[in-house]
Amino acid sequence: MSTNNRIEVRAPMSGVFYRRPDPDQPAYVEVGDVVKKKQVLALLETMKVFQKLKSPVAGKVLEILPEDETPLKDGDLVMVIETS
């Protein structure tokens, strides 16, 4: 398998990155998880509005870059998904 089917997931706007729906719940995904297309990967909170970051493809989570609950800028790299 080649490494060129790495799909990048980027922040569509600035906001605070959340890996879990609320602090007491497990993270949406961990590195190594197999995800479906449109599966929720994380949340982004911008000015009190939450949006779901969804996987653009089916694949495997290779990398999760930001720390939980940290601010992201528009276009920041969030995750890398490897398609099979």
């Binding site: 000015m47 009190k48 509005v49 601010p71």
Partner: protein
């Protein structure tokens, strides 16, 4: 009496409170998060205290840090603004416990909103019309039919265990009720583990009309007229005005009396708002009491001439109200447009960023409540409301014309705002004629569910 007020908020409402305090000769303390160091409220107050990191939960919602800031600066009163801790009974008690005056309603008033059913019962007992509904669970279809014949269709079947819009079925007539009731029962059992259903009359295409009330500690209560708030999207108001183009003088009188009765029924103190739904036939129903100064309070100020924030402070100092609605010389019409940093063409998604070009409108009949300035970096952490543009004239048509002119002058760039949407609404013939209900906005903004995205 207090002489130094800590303002436990940020943004335009913090400025609003600081300005009122200054005019009353009171010293002010601003609190701010690490993301708000350059925010205008920190510059206008006499003193400022950083209360924590950017995330609101650790700063503007941090009761301990705020009380500590008040102690350190010697503030002996706290104004909570709206949002954040404004309706938090524990915060009000903490202020009082620390020897400070909480400028707002009593803790009991604040906690009332969490007890909707008991509030509704007290309103009903006080003769305030509430939305007709079953007193409790409805046992079977026969009982449901009897009830609905009494309250009239359409009705909503609601699952007692549901919430947030789930488990609700609309029935337009008896045939629909007969079909839906058993399904709703089994669905409710499956979804919520509880098959108890109750039934509520459905108010079709209502207007949202609310009454401002003021109450002192000496048993005096008055209302200050109504605000029409039907132009809203998903319960977020966009445009408010006073008076309402939808009320007759008779209805205004009746609803004003009901608002005062509602405030009395819950021993209300300070400034508050009694919300009603008004149906197409002019019947009105109590919704809730908002125990705070509201975002849209300026429209009431413009037509009554009463500074509501100063009244909150004065009443909290123990003063008597000293007047009733009938004593006020109401003048003209006021409209407020909420300018949000949002993109109306992209599902109202927020739009933070740096304000590179800013110009405030001016001239006769224009008021702008905002914390913006050129070069301000709008933080991503807080509400998208960036300005409230209020216009006032002798007539509604005049206020609409001034609004249009002022919206055209207002420059907030390069971020996206609701200014273009407001301009479209000002040109809408139905808006101009005052013919609208809470469904109005859907003609400009499809009411999409952003949870669904089967679009690719």
């Amino acid at each position: 009496m207090f002489d130094k007020v800590l303002v436990a908020n940020r943004g335009e409402i913090a400025l609003r409170v600081i300005r009122a305090c200054k005019e009353l000769g009171l010293k002010t303390v601003a609190v701010y998060s690490e993301a708000d160091e350059t925010s205008l409220h920190t510059r206008l107050a006499d003193q400022k205290v950083c209360i924590g990191p950017a995330v609101s939960a650790k700063s503007y919602l941090n009761i301990e840090a705020i009380i500590q800031a008040a102690r350190e600066t010697g503030a002996n009163a706290v104004h909570p603004g709206y949002g954040y801790l404004a309706e938090n009974g524990a915060f009000a008690r903490a202020c009082t416990g620390a020897g400070m005056v909480f400028i707002g309603p009593t803790p009991d008033n604040l906690e009332l909103s969490g007890e909707k059913i008991s509030a509704k019962k007290r309103m009903h007992a006080a003769g305030v019309p509430v939305i007709p509904s079953s007193p409790g669970g409805v046992a079977d279809l026969a009982q449901a039919m009897d009830l609905c014949r009494e309250i009239g269709y359409p009705v909503m079947i609601k699952a007692a265990g549901g919430g947030g819009g789930r488990g609700i079925r609309l029935c337009v007539d008896e045939a629909a009720l007969a079909e839906e009731f058993p399904v709703a029962k089994s669905e409710s059992r499956a979804a919520f583990g509880n098959d108890e259903l109750y039934i509520e009359k459905c108010v079709v295409r209502p207007r949202h009309v609310e009454f401002q009330v003021l109450a002192d500690r000496h048993g005096n209560v008055t209302h200050l007229g109504e605000r029409e708030c039907s132009i809203q999207r998903r319960y977020q108001k966009l445009i408010e005005e006073s008076p309402s183009p939808g009320l007759t003088p008779e209805l205004r009188l009746e609803m004003g009396a009901a608002a005062v009765a509602a405030a009395r029924a819950v021993d209300y103190f300070n400034a508050g708002t009694v919300e009603f739904l008004v149906d197409q036939d002019g019947r009105f129903y109590f919704m809730e009491v908002n125990a705070r100064i509201q975002v849209e309070h300026p429209v009431t100020e413009m037509v009554t001439g009463v500074d509501l924030v100063k009244e909150q402070i004065r009443l909290s100092a123990g003063d008597k109200l000293g007047y009733v609605f009938e004593d006020l010389n109401l003048k003209g019409w006021a409209i407020e447009c909420r300018i949000n940093a949002e993109n109306p063409d992209f599902n109202f998604m927020p739009c933070p960023g740096t304000i590179e070009r800013y110009h405030a409108p001016g001239g006769f009949g224009v008021r702008l409540d905002t914390h913006l300035y050129q070069g301000y970096e709008l933080p991503m952490y807080y509400d998208s409301l960036v300005a409230k543009l209020i216009t006032h004239d002798l007539t509604r048509q005049g206020a609409v014309r001034i609004m249009k002119r002022a919206l055209e002058e207002l420059i907030i760039e390069p971020i996206k705002t609701t200014i273009p949407l407001h301009l479209k609404i000002m040109d809408d013939p139905d808006f101009q004629a005052g013919r609208f209900d809470t469904g109005f906005i859907t003609r400009y903004v499809p009411d999409e569910d952003d949870d669904e995205d089967e679009d690719d």
